[in-house]
Symmetry: C3
Subunit: 427 residues, 3 copies
């Protein structure tokens, strides 16, 4: 079974669970994720409600068992058990009768996509509410409605997980995704699934250069919590970081640049995408929207970019009931895995190399180019010659790839050979 298929099946198991920024849905999701990678430890942390994290405070823990609306004629609508998007996330408990006008003040709908249930939340202000398709909203008759939400909002904890895979150096590559979204497949069963596949891949790399950190936390408040507890270490050791979200559909590839678009993470991801998916969307930081907002905030400055297939905010299914298991696919997930694998490989071999000869090395006597020269032989081995020409110690491998316009993954085997023949040394 390929990684795409494995990831898709994991998404199927994660999808039904009602996750939020705190609560048992998050814990249950971590159990599934740990089952998926039994040989790699996901370290789970719990941080108490009320804990100050930077400018924020961890809210009470929210858990919900049921929710619905009863119409004047006794039908149940907006049933939580049918689709957990129907409840405004973080709703306080309620059980009362309300008139239609009063009910409407508590309903979120989406007129522009009248068939779909929108996703909404109110983490930091106590209210109750439901989400309903515009068509259904329009069909509601006057009369008295019963609103029922069986939830608890009380002191508990925020839950996050991290995977640490050591390499030859303490310098780190970091991946992050989040575990706070309810039943939406691309945003966000896909990101945690990709994290498990990447963990397996990284764990399998022999003689890893970098150490790797893979973090799963609730969006925003979880990232802030993680930063507040790890900032100094992250700033010292993380050399490139990738936030993974909406990585399961088939449509396109996207990256959101870091604040100035100039980190190692920007350089490597844009290089991989431009050679393998030249039609990819290259968004500036002003299009940000996920945890890169916290990791790239002024003073935090972790060198993070965001990687998506269809980007959040942009694809029509975003934050609606249409972001379901039909919207993502094994092929879509596999494509994202392939990109991150190439990114990882590029980082592992992204050293500064210096050719050891003055003038061109004589490649012919080493069997690396033909010994007979005719009209067409020179250009056959051009990537090799170009790689050597720019191995002056000034460029890392990705720089050279960009300069000579040749994909970095095709340069890696050449670097091997040049190191082996002592024609290259690492600077």
């Amino acid at each position: 079974m390929n990684e795409g298929q494995k990831m898709y099946e994991l998404c199927e198991r994660l999808f039904p669970i009602c996750r939020s920024i705190t609560g048992n849905g998050v814990r249950q999701s971590f159990e599934l994720l740990q089952e998926e990678i039994p040989d790699i430890v996901i370290h789970i942390s719990e941080v108490k409600s009320g804990t100050r994290v930077l400018d924020w405070t961890i809210p009470n823990e929210w858990n919900i068992r049921d929710a619905f609306i009863e119409t004047p004629d006794g039908r149940r609508i907006c049933e939580f058990k049918k689709n957990n998007l129907h409840v405004l996330h973080y709703s306080v408990p309620v059980d009362k009768k309300v008139s239609l006008p009063e009910l409407k003040e508590h309903l979120t709908t989406l007129k522009s996509q009248p068939e779909l249930i929108p996703y909404a939340s109110s983490y930091y202000k106590e209210r109750w509410g439901f989400c309903i398709s515009y068509n259904e909203l329009m069909s509601l008759p006057e009369g008295e409605y019963r609103v029922f939400i069986d939830s608890t909002l009380s002191p508990g904890a925020l839950t996050y997980g991290e995977i640490l895979i050591p390499g030859r150096v303490k310098d780190e590559v970091m991946f992050s995704s989040y575990v706070c979204h309810p039943s939406m497949a691309n945003n966000e069963c896909s990101g945690p699934s990709l994290i498990t596949a990447l963990a397996r891949y990284i764990d399998s790399i022999p003689h890893r250069y970098y150490s790797y950190r893979l973090v799963l936390a609730p969006e925003t408040i979880g990232a802030l919590t993680y930063i507040s507890r790890n900032l100094e270490y992250l700033q010292k050791y993380v050399k490139a970081a990738f936030n993974l979200t909406c990585v399961g559909d088939d449509r396109t590839y996207s990256m959101v640049r870091s604040r100035y678009g100039d980190t190692l993470a920007d350089k490597v991801l844009s290089n991989v995408l431009k050679y393998h998916y030249p039609e990819f969307h290259d968004y500036p930081y002003t299009a940000r929207g996920s945890d890169e907002r916290q990791y790239q905030a002024p003073g935090v400055d972790i060198p993070m970019v965001c990687f998506c297939r269809s980007k959040y905010h942009v694809f029509p299914e975003y934050h609606t009931s249409a972001d379901n298991l039909n919207f993502i696919s094994p092929v879509g997930l596999q494509g994202s895995f392939d990109v991150m694998k190439k990114v990882t490989d590029a980082l592992e071999y992204n050293r500064h190399y210096q050719v050891t000869t003055l003038g061109e090395p004589q490649l012919g006597r080493r069997g690396m180019v033909p010994t007979m020269s005719s009209k067409e032989t020179y250009r056959e081995t051009l990537a090799l010659k170009d790689l050597i020409a720019y191995a002056d110690g000034r460029n890392d491998l990705v720089d050279i790839s960009n300069i000579i316009d040749h994909p970095v993954d095709e340069l890696i085997p050449l670097v091997y050979e040049l190191l082996d023949k002592k024609l290259f040394r690492v600077v």
Copy 2:
């Protein structure tokens, strides 16, 4: 009455006066300008003829009472009293009879615009002459002509004026225009008129940050004189300077960049123009032609750009009798005032700001963004979030405006609020 109307009426009063680089026309113009802003002092300086100013020498003072040509049949043409462009400015006195061929050696005309009287001058070489439309020139019969110029060219002084409006710091913003052009409306009754309107506006700003300097002098020799007397101070304190010329027509907006296009003045003016008048003309320094030539000369290096509506040298009416009061308008003048007002406001608030939180501040609990999050809420307050995202101390407000692609005048109220809520501090 709006500023545009006031400025236009001032142009009407300035228009008939025969100004040149010296003489009573300049003094008379300063009287009108001072009447226009009775509460703000225009400091007048007089510098004697023969004074060396840098590589130049202040010429004798020129005054003229009358001039005309009498045709063989006794008609008067080229009458100074009908249009003061008819005399070559700085003409020495003359009263004699000449043949048509000899006369023609003293006539300046404009074949490409045969209806118009051109404007010409000979400040530094003594000669006499008249300016005449090509059509009229072609109609002149053979015969004896009387040429009469009742002028004096003798030791006197060059006159310039300056307005100084202090702010909280000694650092200055400077505006300049010139007072040496005879009856032409755009070039140059409009510039001095705009200077008076700006003086009123600047004087009205509470808690001004910058000090302001507004200079009116004859073009070239006046700028050189001003520089020779003030260079050290200007170099120390002027942070942005704007030469204002041809600011009264309705057609377009133009800027002429500083020598390398990289000063604060370039940055602010280009930002204001691109957001409010995106079709503006952005000329390089090689298109210069007014006093920016002196202020931006090597070694002088005052950070000056030039602001016009239709640029000198470019609009067809330039330096002809068609540059009259019909060519400018209250609306045209008001537009230029609006640009300079926005430029002034942008400079006043163009600090480096730093967000005071690590990670994003929690805007919801401060009432700055909605507390309920649904599909469309995130982007509603995007300018605020983008402003915060780039408030890392590295960028001034205009930099941030350029990066997040949002007009600086719309950011100023957000900066207020962020400072007020202690989420921003000035670096």
Copy 3:
């Protein structure tokens, strides 16, 4: 007789000689070149076979007297004496009978250009072979063939030549070309011919600023030899270097940039080409292929660009029998000479200049601009004013040419006048 005609006639004399990277053909060619410039010494060096030069070793010397193939029916084909491209260069001697299949293993042909004899060589691996047009190859009958090559490959020397023309400073401009190609006209009788014409021109410049170095060596191994013997001096004194190859056809102009495209040589050549031949091809270093490969190799870093008309590897006649005397012309050679003359002139006057006045100098009283100013006079002398405006000591003359968008050769006489009038000084 113009230089183009002289160069063409020299190409006619060089063309028939069988040159290779060593041997008597090279020596004979140097004799012809020396005859062409009797007043300028070409210093000849010989370096023994077996000498280690950087990563390479000078091979045995190759000389050849005759070569041919005898067909089964007794005809002679691939006759060296008819076209010296017919023999694989550096072939070891052979005289034996072979079957057609065995023969074919020793034949180089060019299916895509079936009429043409390709050029091929095997300098560093001993083998024998012939080159043959595809059409002729297809016509060969089965049977026994006699292959005959009367060559010697034995210890001798590699030969190179250099011309040194001193100037006022030890800093140098360097030109190089090569002398290792057999009967091909553009590649490479044209380059050595241009070297002789340039030597004559440089020798005629009064008060030369730079010293000049013109080097002719076999490609690759000769350049490596030259570098190994002169590296320290070249690195210290060579400020701009130009490799000249394929400079005799009429089609286009090309330059191949240095490794980062940012040397003085890049700046000057691209400036001359863009103003005089705006359609020129501007290739990056990845399109390199001649001795710039060695001079620009990491650690060697001589600031060299390559100049061609039609670039090697690109024109269809390249490395075939179609690169003959009909492919080049006196006009083509003259054009290349004109470019290199302009490059030389630009380098000679490419100082940093500083205007000696504060503010604009008064050009009128010096007779440099009209003393009467009217609508059209300002722009007449704009290049002069723009030159002064950017003479702030920060820019060299080529920088100014690029900024003010005016060809450098038209600025040189203005610089003369400004220096003469003490308005400019050299920084």
